[in-house]
Amino acid sequence: MVVARVGERVRWSTVSTIGAFVALGALPIGLSAMDQSYWLQFSTRLLLLAVLAMSADLVWGYAGIFTLGHALLFGVGAYTTGMLASRWGWVELQGLIPPAILLSGLSAFAIAIFLFAGSNRVGGIYVSLATLALAYAAERLANGWPTLGAANGIPGLPIPLLFGYQIDLGIRFYYAAFAVFTVAFAVVVSVTRSQFGLSLLAIRDDEERAEFLGYSRQRIQIAALVLSGLLAGMAGGMYGLHEGFVSPGFVGVGLSTQVLLWLVLGGRGRVWGALLGVVLLELLGRVMQDRYPRLWPVLVGAALLACITFLPDGIVSLPVRRLRERFRGRGRMQFSGEPA
């Protein structure tokens, strides 16, 4: 019974996943055929932001750690590549990205130890407040630290190379970002389907019960945050190079909040929710900004409010809902904004 159900779900999701990847892979060919270099670079940016959103989903959607400072980990990655590229003249991606991943992983580890280790560990709302304070402090620090370019950030980052092969903006950078996205996707999917992923869900849904069953909340949450930090650092490093600059906003509260909004709109705890949220919100923002330059923040805000109220599980829950109805409530993860 159980095997059959899992089988059905896997078949459906495998088909749609392959379809989505083929579409993402073909997108730049179509866009460059139509000479749409702007939309190609726009899509590249969205893929990288989607990696950030997926990394945040890992801690919020799966591990239930509601962090208000996730951009901090992204920004550490961006500043790492920014410093290496502008101060030391590194241009090779294979040299720039690993330090970014490593440093933000380490930062995530330090934050996780601070938050979750020891006897006076932090829980619930205090995790949110602590991460909020960290992101705020990081933004202040970046704003005031001349070595990091202070408020001006690090401008004029070079176009990177990959083993001597120039990764121009446009089709090449898109595929580099696509590779990063694929790696992150694979990591998130394999992690969430592993024993470890199930223990994350267990802790998210009922901490005490999971602990009674012998799971160490500390270890699992620390591991989730570090993993998320590695992915966020990878996204941040690539993002800085793609945008050509790094600024204090990259580590700040603003971007951290934006990440949450993407997940709210797209849907948490489901791997495609992140990309969906990023694409919808950024595209909506882009179009609104062109149409109503002075009103777009209000309109985007109203759209978000409507989504939170009527679709608390995000857009991604729409097909899932229908599917679940078809299988009479035999859907996999129950994730609802309302605690049961």
Partner: protein, 423 residues
Amino acid sequence: MSNDFTRREALKKLAMTTGVIGLGLSGVLAACGDDEETTSDTAAPSTDGASAPATDASTGGAPSGDPIKVGVLTDITGPFSVVGLSNQAIAQFTIDKINAEGGVLGRPLEMVLVDSATDPAIGAQVARKLVEQDKVAMVIGGIASNMREAIKSVIATRGNTMYIWPASYEGNECTELVFNTGQAPNQQLDPFIPYLLENAGKTFFLAGADYIYPRNILGKVRELVEAGGGTVVGEEYYPLDATDISALQNKVLSSEAEVLFSVVVLPLSIPFHKAIIDGGFTGKIAGTLFDETSQILFADAATGMLASQDYFFSVDSPAGTEVREAFAAAYPDASFSSTFNTPAWYRSFYLWKNAVETAGSLDTDAVAAAMDTAVFEGNPGGPAAMKAGTKHCSLPIFIGEVQADGSVKELLSAGTIDPTECG
């Protein structure tokens, strides 16, 4: 359960109400938005209507052919929107004026406006749109330096498009294809500090917010004060997001300096300058950010403030008076003041027009080469010219004093000052 139910119901009702209000509002706003577009389209010709035919006659015909797209990037929303809306107005005004005068290379200019929302990350996105999607011939804009830093590589380095930065700023911007048409620090300070030493006092207190602009400006002020035989009795910076700087006020008052050189910025500049005057400060307040807007911000505390700028309304310049009055008539809500960079925006378009016409084409390298020595006789304060090799603009500079009625009285015309940048 019932509790949950009522909460949900309440939420639903709230959401419905919000939704309805939101929809209604967006309808109204959408109408306003359309209105705005049409008014700016129709109002522009009508405001120029009086002068357009005459100018046409004198220059020989309206522009024809494909419009040349010009990218205008500024902060329409966010904390800097007041300045951004003035930027938008002067851009539209100048483009309409140039079109009425026959356009550039006989073609009309078309403004492509984007909102950088006072956020460098958004600025980079919209700058990319201008360059990659709209394929504009030139981008002008940016208010704060961090915006310039974020957009310059997208536009100039990666986009191979000319970028004009029309703001007085901290200096040292020498990137290829980036041209600075605002005041460089030495232009505001070289004549200003000797004037202060002679007329206001020898002891200076330097106060500013802790970021690159005040630090660079006050660093140069200190050099000039010490070179001119004055002394700096205090130099203090406060965090940009501080909410209270009464400690700084006390330091200024107890220093007994004769001149307070202030680069204290909004929003704290409002209580700060008031507290300094109320606290019995008897010296002079001088700064790089004062002009006709000062009295609006600081009320009585503005009276007597000393300023150094590229234009004051009181400057005796027929070209300046004419354009300022025409602008005020067309855009009564916008400001023509120097701190809003309005004169710099105005001359930027004409300097670029001069460069394009010298080059005879829109070829980026040819226009950039011509821009190096572009000239504009009709600059509000008097003739302006790009100084070859500096990527900055030689400008007439004036020193003035804010009067009780908010106007700025010209005390000294310092003549044309060359920028000492990128040399």
